[in-house]
């Protein structure tokens, strides 16, 4: 029962990273200097993200609901120890959502569009950075559960080079994800979109190397724990191998295949990060841990949650499929 819920939680987080990640990345690309005319970028991003952006972010709400329902100990830990990063992320989410709405629903197109446009872009950078920082901090595990000091409890585990560099790496990863998605969707300026994707890819690789370097220098044991794990190594190799078919599908405008491969790549990257941890979610430097299996709620609660998830998915998926169908015709126009 617990494993099934962990699986659904992982799916929700994966879909959030994939769909909302592309959405965040698109926001950054919108303000990124490039040869693609700004207006064309805004129109494509609006068309590509508009119908689904609200539902994209509901995957995060689903992940939060599953967490506090089934794993209250983990939710408590995240809420307390990541008080400031999550607070900052929430702040970015509200600015981003509001500016996107204003950008696309303000009936008068005047100078205010530029302000919405910049707020949307900057808050997208802000959100992806904090998301990445949280992931980096969880991987580093630089906390001790017995710490009671303000700095140790609320700042130490994320105010360090590994978490910060991971924040930048995830920002570039989301940008790359979005660039792939938008290149596949673009009807005009396709060579320019391809060139932009390539540039972001180079920056992503550089950022990845720097993050690894910092991780190695700062916490070699923890680096080995994640990156010398055979499953993680295989997954990382696969994520690179998928690049070739990815380039092919973009070149041939095979939109669905391109999305599918982007999803597989992200599964590999996220799997490489979280597989070594499981069944733990929090693994601290002093070897104490909070595990999914130990921190789960009572069986009656898990059963009720499973009913809700199964019925909920049965209700949601047909509608979601229908929305995607309409969404495709929206882009094609």
């Amino acid at each position: 029962m617990t494993e099934f819920i962990v699986f659904i939680l992982a799916v929700a987080l994966f879909l959030y990273a994939l769909l909302a990640g592309a959405d965040f990345g698109a926001g950054i690309i919108e303000i990124l200097p490039s040869k693609i005319p700004t207006n064309d970028k805004t129109v494509l991003i609006g068309k590509a993200m508009g119908p689904v952006w609200e539902s994209n972010h509901i995957w995060l709400i689903l992940a939060l609901v599953i967490s506090f329902n089934a794993f209250p100990g983990i939710f408590w830990f995240i809420s307390e120890w990541f008080h400031f990063p999550f607070g900052a992320l929430a702040f970015g989410i509200i600015f981003r959502g509001a500016s996107f709405t204003f950008l696309h629903y303000d009936p008068i197109k005047d100078g205010s569009q530029k302000i919405y446009h910049w707020i949307f872009g900057l808050s997208s950078v802000w959100c992806t950075f904090w998301l990445g920082l949280i992931v980096g901090s969880l991987m580093l595990g630089n906390f001790s559960l017995s710490d009671t000091g303000i700095f140790e409890r609320y700042f130490k585990h994320w105010l360090n080079p590994v978490a910060i560099s991971m924040g930048f790496f995830v920002t570039f990863l989301m940008m790359f994800n979005a660039a792939l998605f938008l290149t596949a969707e673009a009807k005009v300026h396709r060579p320019l979109w391809r060139s932009l994707t390539l540039k972001i890819f180079i920056v992503l690789i550089l950022s990845g190397l720097i993050t690894h370097g910092i991780f190695l220098a700062y916490a070699i044991d923890r680096w080995k724990f994640f990156f010398m794990n055979p499953v993680s190594i295989v997954l990382i190799v696969f994520s690179f191998l998928f690049l070739m078919p990815q380039i092919y599908t973009i070149d041939r405008s095979l939109r669905n295949s391109s999305r599918f491969i982007a999803g597989l790549q992200l599964i590999c990257i996220m799997g490489a990060g979280f597989y070594p941890l499981y069944p733990n979610f929090i693994l601290t430097q002093d070897a104490t841990s909070i595990s999914f299996l130990e921190a789960s709620a009572e069986p009656a609660v898990l059963r009720a949650l499973i009913y809700a998830l199964v019925v909920g998915l049965l209700l949601i998926l047909p509608g979601y499929y229908f929305l995607m169908k309409i969404f495709k015709s929206n882009i094609d126009e």
Binding site: F68, I94, P107, I316, L323
Partner: protein
């Protein structure tokens, strides 16, 4: 910077109050406007009236704006629950998780249906398209009802055994269908319809009186008026049921609402006034003999518990609860009166638009529904203090230990005020384009 625990607690409570107070406006609009939008679209599909289509599209834009801002402020709230009240979520999360997960499903369906409606014009068959608009409304109302299950559980906690400070043997279904759910749900759902329909009537009456797009505004008035009349007339009955429920389950909250200090038989209803807590009386109030006993227990001679029956440390802030309750009742009564006048006009087979005074009254009462909702939530939440889970966990025990909560509060306050100004500005521009500019939309 805050040092004392009380300062942090106040900052966190104020932040939560502003977040909920901001979100609730968008939540109720997101619940009810899709129903109006759907009614207007139905009108267009049946009668092919171009004004109905334009009205549908105008309301659709409004729904999109309010829904999106409501979605992000709701996401923020789900963060704040954990960030400000981690101990509450740690214990209550598994108990109230089920209504939250159903609410998530309903909200997801609402977002999908809205996406289909926004982008489905001329891409899907008209009646399928209409069904999407209808589903936005159904999912929105359902979502609100599930959220009420969570709040009502905080007022009537059940579905668990409490042993040595731990919540055990959780029954999520008993928690969800708690004793307060029904009364809070119908009261809030009706309030949502009353406040939003009052707002819609007010805005379109104002534009009608200005002489702009008369047919379109008249159609909007015709759609909103039945919802307003029915909900505003039902609300006093719903309020009576809710008050009886509070008197039974949370007598201390009920006593604070009425500022009743001593337990009294044949207790009088207190109208208005300013509670003088130190001297345990209400200044400048009107007392109507025996009516409070009747309203609380359906018997003119029944006994109503007073605040002095409870330890003083368990008293909520009496003055705030009393004044908020009076504001809510006053606003609700005025809205019911406006509904009676509108109903009389219809019974006399006259058009609502034939009576400019009625339209002016609609304009005047239009903000009262939202004021009543804010006041009602103040009664519910402040009236439960000092408890976050009534009788089981105090609010101060649920608070995070994180520093600088005052700074966070001011930041969020600024954010919400800023967003409110921008949304109002956007709303003004929407009206400007559709009604006030000479060249029209």
């Amino acid at each position: 910077m805050i040092n004392s625990a009380m300062d942090s607690l106040l900052a966190a409570r104020l932040q939560m109050a502003f977040s909920l107070g901001f979100h609730i406006i968008f939540a109720v609009i997101g619940m009810v406007m899709p129903v109006f939008m759907s009614a207007s679209y139905w009108h267009y599909l049946k009668k092919k009236n171009p004004d109905a289509l334009e009205l549908t599209k105008l309301w659709m834009k409004g729904v999109a704006i309010f829904f999106a801002v409501g979605a992000v402020s709701g996401t923020l709230l789900s963060f704040e629950l954990g960030l400000l009240w981690p101990e509450f979520m740690k214990h209550a999360g598994p108990i109230v998780g089920m209504p939250f997960s159903w609410e998530g499903t309903a909200f997801f369906l609402e977002a999908i249906a809205l996406g289909i409606f926004l982008y489905g014009f001329e891409r899907i068959s008209p009646w399928k398209h209409w069904f999407a608009s209808f589903m936005v409304g159904v999912a929105g109302v359902t979502s609100g009802i599930f959220v009420m299950a969570v709040n009502s559980w905080m007022n009537a906690p059940q579905g668990f055994d409490f042993e040595n400070g731990v919540f055990k043997n959780i029954d999520p279904f008993a928690a969800m269908f708690n004793d307060a759910w029904f009364s809070q749900s119908h009261h809030m759902t009706i309030a949502a319809f009353t406040s939003v329909s009052a707002g819609v009537l007010g805005i379109h009456s104002f534009l009608y009186l200005l002489g702009r797009r008369k047919n379109l505004n008249l159609l909007a008035i015709k759609i909103a008026a039945p919802f307003f009349i029915i909900s505003a007339l039902l609300q006093p009955l719903s309020g009576d049921l809710a008050a009886k429920d509070v008197a039974k389950r949370q007598p201390i909250k009920f006593a604070a609402m009425e500022s009743l200090f001593e337990t009294t038989r044949s207790a009088p209803l207190v109208l208005g006034g300013i509670p003088n807590v130190e001297n345990e009386r209400v200044d400048y109030a009107i007392h109507i003999p025996k009516i409070l006993s009747y309203l609380a227990h359906g018997d003119l001679n029944s006994e109503v518990k007073g605040l002095n029956d409870f330890p003083k440390e368990h008293w909520p802030p009496v003055a705030i609860v009393h004044v908020a309750f009076q504001i809510m009742v006053f606003c609700g009564s005025l809205l019911a009166l406006a509904a009676v006048l509108a109903l009389l006009t219809i019974i006399r087979k006259k058009s609502l638009a034939s009576n400019p005074w009625l339209l002016k009254l609609f304009v005047l009462v239009s903000p009262l529904g939202i004021v009543a909702i804010e006041a009602g939530w103040t009664v519910t939440e402040v009236g439960r203090q000092p408890w976050i889970i009534y009788g089981f966990m105090k609010t101060k025990d649920a608070l995070t230990n994180a520093p600088a909560l005052q700074l966070t509060f001011y930041t969020y306050l600024f954010l919400y005020l800023f967003l409110m100004v921008v949304v109002c500005w956007l709303f003004y521009r929407l009206i400007l384009v559709h009604f006030l500019k000479k060249d029209g939309p």
